[in-house]
Amino acid sequence: MKRIAPFLIIALVLIAGLIAVWALSRSSPSSNPNRNAATPDPKLTPAGAQPPHIRGNPNAPVTVEEFADFQCPTCGAYHPELKKIEAEYGDRLRVIFRENPLVPTHQHALVAAQAAEAAGLQGRFWEMHDKLYENQKAWSELKDVVPLFVDYAKQIGLDADRFMRDLNGEAVAVRIFQDGKRSHALGVKATPTLFVNGKEATGDSWRPEGLRLLINQALSGASGP
């Protein structure tokens, strides 16, 4: 018996390992885009910062709400993809951006969110949003990012003195806090997290091809009977 015992143990562990891979892949929320992603009750969920940052047609039939972190490399890589999708769908799509800085994972995420919101107070949120993503690698490794953000502010035509005041001001803090409350209530755990007409893009559907599929579904639902 002792002669075959090690082979039995090895076979058992191999089978258990294969079952574990199969079970984990099935149970992982990332692998199951059709998992019950219940649409949250809008009455019970905090609305987030108001007015929200909207790009595209404000009355579009489909809304993509993105929770993102300016220092998250995946969000940075996703930024041009989302822009492509926005261009493809034109007036049929609006995108809402929500602040979701992953602190302390990303040391400059909060100040980047503050910079975008401070720009937003001067009506240039999206310009700063794009600037931050397009230059993510340049500022992510810096010790002090504020001088560079002030440069960005000047480049997009902001009043630099006001930008500096607003950066640590209450209005900016309140907006980030309100988005954070919404993010928490919706159970956002990773960035980017996207909702299409209030329904979370679960599994791999956050990826561009999956998002297109969800937008198409939402559009066919919107134009249906």
């Binding site: 090690p6 891979v21 490399p73 969000c75 992953l102 994972t105 755990k189 990773a190 960035t191």
Partner: protein, 150 residues
């Protein structure tokens, strides 16, 4: 291999430690396959490490290669524990290779990616413990055999 030899406990412990590494590597493989590791989370550094180009070797996730390596280590340690002495040299060779790979991966995390992932650090710890356990136990055994011979 003989039926009379007692179970070598150091190899049995090594097999249990390898199981920890195997579970960790399976978890990371599933995270890679499902794409979950690509997104950023509050778990510091993991998304940076696991979405880096170093997390993949050709079409294979590095974690899957790690899982296979831990399974081989587990199998060889179990065989060694049950008296299959011919498994021991293979176990030592694979552990040395895994330890060198671990050092390389730690260097990448520290100086290239500049982020550490806890799951990768756990795997590094497991490999280090396994290497020390197997190499030291072989060394101690050799020393004790020499003393008996004297």
């Amino acid at each position: 291999m003989t039926d009379e030899k007692p179970i070598a406990w150091s190899y049995l412990i090594a097999a249990v430690v390898a199981l920890v590494g195997l579970i960790d590597a399976i978890y990371l493989t599933v995270q890679h396959i499902t794409g979950a590791s690509l997104r950023c989370t509050i778990i510091s550094g993991c998304s940076e490490v696991l979405s880096s180009p170093y997390a993949q070797v050709g079409p294979l996730p590095l974690a899957a290669i790690g899982a296979a390596a831990y399974f081989v280590v587990f199998s060889l340690a179990i065989l060694a524990a049950f008296g299959y002495r011919s498994a021991i040299p293979f176990l030592k060779i694979i552990l040395v290779l895994m330890f060198l790979t671990t050092l390389w991966l730690l260097y990448l995390q520290a100086f290239v990616i500049r982020h550490f992932c806890q799951y990768c650090l756990l795997s590094a710890a497991v490999t280090t413990i396994l290497t020390l356990l197997v190499l030291l136990s072989a060394r101690l055994k050799a020393l004790s055999t020499r003393r008996v011979e004297r």
